[in-house]
């Protein structure tokens, strides 16, 4: 069983999302902050006339904020029929992975990260962490 994962980079690590979930990947747009929103919600963006919620994965995963001046990218994924934009550092290739390469996350993983990670694919070039899109975007 092989799957295709769309990959992206966050704080040096590679993550993947099932490619069928991904609507598009694009440069970041101006975000309108939402006061009093839960942490991790970085604002709303205008995606061709549609108002789309944007989630900062770095905050979600307890990672330090992106260096000042660096522009994040947006990966727009479908969650329950609603598009949601994920802020990532860089967008990578679509990679074929085999189920045999999959392994559950190690117990030593930080709590915030374990929350949103399904597991890891052991690839030749390093580990590819599979993102749990539902958890990562939950309010």
């Amino acid at each position: 069983m092989s799957r295709q994962l769309a990959t992206f980079v966050l704080d040096g690590a590679r993550y993947g999302v099932d490619v069928v979930r991904v609507q598009e990947a694009l440069r970041s747009h101006t975000r309108t902050p939402v006061p009093l929103a839960p942490a991790g919600i970085s604002g709303l963006v205008n995606l061709r006339g549609e108002v789309v919620l944007s989630i900062d994965l770095r905050v979600r995963m307890g990672l330090p904020p992106l260096a000042a001046g660096a522009e994040p990218m947006m990966v727009v994924v479908q969650v329950d029929g609603e598009p949601i934009s994920l802020l990532v550092d860089e967008v990578g290739d679509v990679i074929d992975v085999e189920e045999t390469q999959f392994e559950a996350p190690p117990d030593t993983l930080a709590a915030e990260l374990r929350e949103v990670i399904l597991g890891a694919y052991k690839l030749d070039g390093g580990l590819l962490l599979a993102l749990d899109v539902e958890r990562a975007t939950a309010a």
Binding site: T32, V34, A37, N46, G49, E50, A138
Partner: protein, 875 residues
């Protein structure tokens, strides 16, 4: 069998619509048994269904409609008059028809609906008439199975309400199939004209039609896709109507319409216009789907159709077309986008200084506005559409609850956006159930109370101030605020102290709290724990409000205020911490610009709560920056107060500045943000930025949950200014059975405090209230009455300029309207006169004297305002 499915589908949609009408007609018929046109309409509906079901080989359906038809023939021919058993059995028939239709819709078969009991009962009713003709008994009826009557007693109300759902589901589910439909749909948009010859061809084969005068009244529903209709506008439509009227051949065009959206009441009447025995093959062009639907039925019908009942024609569908809902929604979305683009262009044009561009932009602006208005109108439907189910519902409810109810419906032609119409359906149903079950008393109780045994339930809809108001009024027992108060305390939603301080109108507001139901007995009709909070949530979710007005013993009015449309609304854009927010215009009362925050007329504080003196009344303030937790604005910054109205609460929202008023397009907000409860949606600004739309009700609820009563009172005192004739007055007892009236405008808060809070400064009594030393004025001592010593003091707080006086009374009796015309000069020391309130002589307190007695320096700092104050208290 694609074709047949299509036919069945058309049949289902049409029948559902007809049945809804049938319910209303039957109930109406019961009260006016002689109405021939109603009878004719009922008869034709059943007849059409019977005929079609025979053609489509739905045996049970045919059987039950046949039986019903026999009964209706007798009624129509005047051999029998409409009475309650007849109505019952006919309604029952309608229910079984519905059940069968639902089953057909679900799996294409008639399912297991057993029609024998109904058929049997219809026959029983028929035979009750001794001289019933033998022929009336359905020939094909199966061996009579005597069924216990109990088994199919009047249906529970719940299914009645749900009955319409399948229709809607069907409509919604349909779009996928639409493109597949071959001939007419594809043909019409390209060239409306060619359709006419085709129609004529059909007509030519049916000369019979010309004899039906009824037809002329119903031109109706050209088979034309919505785009063509909407775009080509009035001319195209008018010509289509004209041709069709001329040829009197409406049926095929009409029935071919793939997505019947408009509630088409005239189907009942219209179904008899095509007495076509021709099989579908004869008229392939237009009539393929429709002809089979009506043909078999009409082959029999014509001789029986009373030709005199031209009045049966209902006007709802005259000159209208059926349009796909999805198409309308898409159109609406596109117009929304256009409005946004227009806003962007306007911005560019304003800044550029290019005259030509500005002119073009203005033109665009005008056209866009007109287009927007036009498209919005296409989505409007009369509220009648929802009301049509009410007569039947009320009848069933009344029977189930043992009530006698007369229903009155006024303003059914008031129009609302269809999405809103959908949204108010359930709340309306809930309120009507509530009115019949809990509002209107049993006939015996009514007679005992000196009212007619028959209760009156009236629905009224009208436009008011850019909103639609829907009122549900009953003349029943009303809601007792005290019962509400004690329930609130029992349920733990409010404490005894809290309810004691609340005015009756506020107590009634408690009904809208979650989990609140005052019904003493839980019935199967209402009072199942889902209460008025659901109604309120639903109405507020569409930007509306709901309130209640009730007089014990005389009845209750529920009032829904609903915006005309949802998708586009006028709003004011404001800025806070360099972000733009939109405030719906309907909630905005006025804007107040503040100078430097150090100057006069600025924000003051009551305790820690900021307030603003707006024309002499304290307006509670909510600072958006504070609420959002962003840094305070710099001291010199000018600010603006947007005075907002949420439910009964009025408050001021402090923002950095006001930008503009504009039409904004409401974009739905992710469900993940709804929990915050402060945003009603989002919108796109002219420059493409996203802005949040503030939820005014949510803001009020979040910021002021604790002090709603206080603000409500402040609000009422505002009304005093506008209407000097009647002044809201707090009536308080001061012992010895004496009562004093205190103008409500002078009251900032009511408190119950332990007697021990009173301390002394010299010979004066004082108490600590909100961190301040507050002088105490005991009215009983001041006015020379004798009251008992109590452990608890009832205190009326009077606050101005951060100074308060605690006025101690014996008890709070009520808040009533005091008419200045009834005042008498007769007074005494400390009084400004007397009046009669609540049938008791009540002394009018000279509140200034009372306050000054407790704190002589109270008024010293604002002599110029004394005059204004005197006006308030009515001196």
């Amino acid at each position: 069998m694609e074709d047949l499915d299509e036919i069945v589908h058309e049949f289902l949609i049409e029948s559902h619509e007809n049945l809804d009408q049938l319910d209303s007609d039957l109930v109406a018929l019961e009260s006016t048994p002689g109405a021939r046109e109603l009878l004719g309409s009922v008869f034709r509906t059943i007849h059409t269904i019977k005929g079609t079901s025979g053609f489509l080989a739905f045996g049970s359906l045919e059987k039950v409609t046949h039986a019903g038809e026999n009964l209706l023939v007798e009624l129509r021919d005047g051999r029998r008059s409409m009475d309650q058993p007849t109505t019952d059995v006919l309604l029952e028939m309608v229910d079984s028809i519905r059940a069968i239709l639902e089953s057909i819709e679900a799996d294409g078969t008639e399912g297991s609906v057993d029609v024998a009991p109904v058929v049997e009962r219809i026959r029983a009713v028929l035979e009750a008439r001794v001289d019933a003709p033998e022929a009336a008994v359905p020939a094909e009826e199966p061996a009579a199975e005597p069924e216990p009557v109990v088994e199919t007693t009047a249906p529970e109300p719940a299914p009645v309400v749900e009955a319409a759902e399948p229709v809607l589901a069907a409509v919604a589910a349909e779009p996928e199939e639409a493109p597949a439909e071959p001939e007419p749909a594809a043909e019409a948009p390209a060239a409306p004209a060619p359709a006419t010859p085709a129609v004529r061809k059909v007509v030519a084969k049916k000369p019979v039609v010309a004899k039906k005068p009824v037809v002329a009244k119903k031109p109706v529903v050209a088979k034309k896709p919505a785009v063509a209709a909407a775009a080509s506008g009035a001319t195209g439509r008018a010509s289509a109507v004209a041709t069709e009227t001329a040829t009197e051949q409406t049926r095929p065009a009409d029935d071919g319409a793939p997505h019947p959206v408009l509630p088409d009441m005239t189907d009942v009447g219209r179904s008899d216009v095509v007495p076509s025995p021709h099989p579908p093959a004869d008229t392939p062009e237009v009539a393929v789907p429709p002809a089979p639907v009506t043909a078999p039925a009409e082959a029999v019908a014509p001789p029986e159709v009373p030709s005199s009942d031209a009045t049966t024609a209902r006007s709802a569908a005259d000159g209208s077309i059926r349009v796909d809902v999805d198409l309308l929604d898409a159109l609406m979305r596109q117009v929304s986008e256009l409005v946004l683009a227009r806003n962007a262009i306007s911005r560019l044009a304003e800044g550029g200084g290019d005259v030509d561009l500005a002119r073009a932009s203005q033109r665009l602006s005008l056209i866009a506005s007109e287009l927007q208005e036009g498209v919005m109108k296409t989505r409007m439907q009369p509220i009648e559409h929802v009301w049509s189910k009410v007569p039947r519902m009320v009848r069933d409810l009344a029977a189930a609850c043992d009530r006698q109810v007369r229903l009155e419906m006024i303003g059914g032609d008031t129009e609302l956006d269809r999405s809103l119409l959908e949204a108010i359906k359930d709340p309306l149903t809930h309120l009507i159930r509530n009115a019949v079950d809990h509002g209107i008393e049993s006939p015996a109780a009514r007679v005992a109370a000196g009212k007619p045994a028959q209760g009156l339930l009236s629905l009224r809809a009208y436009h008011a101030g850019g909103q639609v108001v829907v009122e549900i009024t009953d003349d029943g027992k009303g809601v007792d605020p005290q019962a509400v108060a004690s329930t609130a305390v029992r349920r733990g939603v409010r404490t005894t102290e809290q309810v004691a301080n609340m005015a009756p109108a506020e107590l009634l507001q408690l009904l809208f709290l979650p989990g609140f139901s005052t019904a003493e007995a839980v019935t199967n009709v209402s009072g199942r724990g889902v209460g008025m909070d659901v109604v309120r949530t639903k109405i507020e979710s569409i930007g509306g409000t709901v309130d209640i007005d009730s007089t014990v013993g005389r009845g209750t009015t529920w009032r829904l205020r609903i915006p005309l449309t949802l998708a586009i609304m006028p709003a004011v854009t404001v800025e806070c911490d360099s972000e733009i927010y939109a405030i719906p215009q309907v909630s905005l009362l006025e804007l107040v610009a503040l100078g430097d925050s150090t100057s006069d007329g600025a924000i003051e504080y009551v305790g820690s709560s900021p307030v603003y003196r707006l024309r002499g009344d304290l307006l509670p303030l909510v600072d958006l920056r504070e609420l959002f937790g962003v840094p305070d604005r710099s001291e010199e910054g000018r600010t603006v107060i947007a005075v907002l109205q949420a439910d009964t609460v009025r408050f001021g929202l402090v923002v950095d500045r006001v930008l503009n008023t504009e039409e904004i397009v409401v974009k739905p907000l992710s469900a993940r943000l709804k929990a915050i409860g402060l945003y009603a949606g989002a919108t796109l600004m002219g420059d493409g930025r996203v802005s949040l739309i503030l939820d005014v009700q949510g803001l009020a609820r979040r910021s002021m949950a604790a002090d709603v009563g206080e603000h409500a009172r402040a609000l009422r005192s505002d009304e005093v200014l506008h209407d000097v004739q009647t002044v809201q007055t707090l009536v308080a007892g001061i012992g010895d059975g004496r009562r004093v009236a205190i103008p409500l405008s002078a009251v900032t808060r009511l408190e119950k405090l332990p007697a021990a809070v009173v301390e002394h400064v010299g010979s004066r009594e004082v108490m600590q209230y909100r961190g301040q030393i507050t002088p105490v004025a005991r009215l009983d001592r001041m006015l020379g009455s004798l009251s008992d010593q109590r452990d608890e003091l009832t205190v009326v707080m009077y606050t101005r300029n951060e100074r308060s006086v605690a006025i101690v009374v014996d008890e709070i009796i009520d808040i009533v309207d005091d008419h200045a015309s009834r005042h008498s000069e007769l007074g005494d020391h400390g009084l400004v006169g007397s009046t009669v309130l609540k049938e008791r002589v009540t002394e009018l307190l000279d509140i200034r004297a009372a306050v000054a007695a407790a704190d002589p320096s109270f008024f010293s700092d604002d002599i110029d305002e004394l005059a204004a104050f005197g006006e308030l208290v009515g001196v």
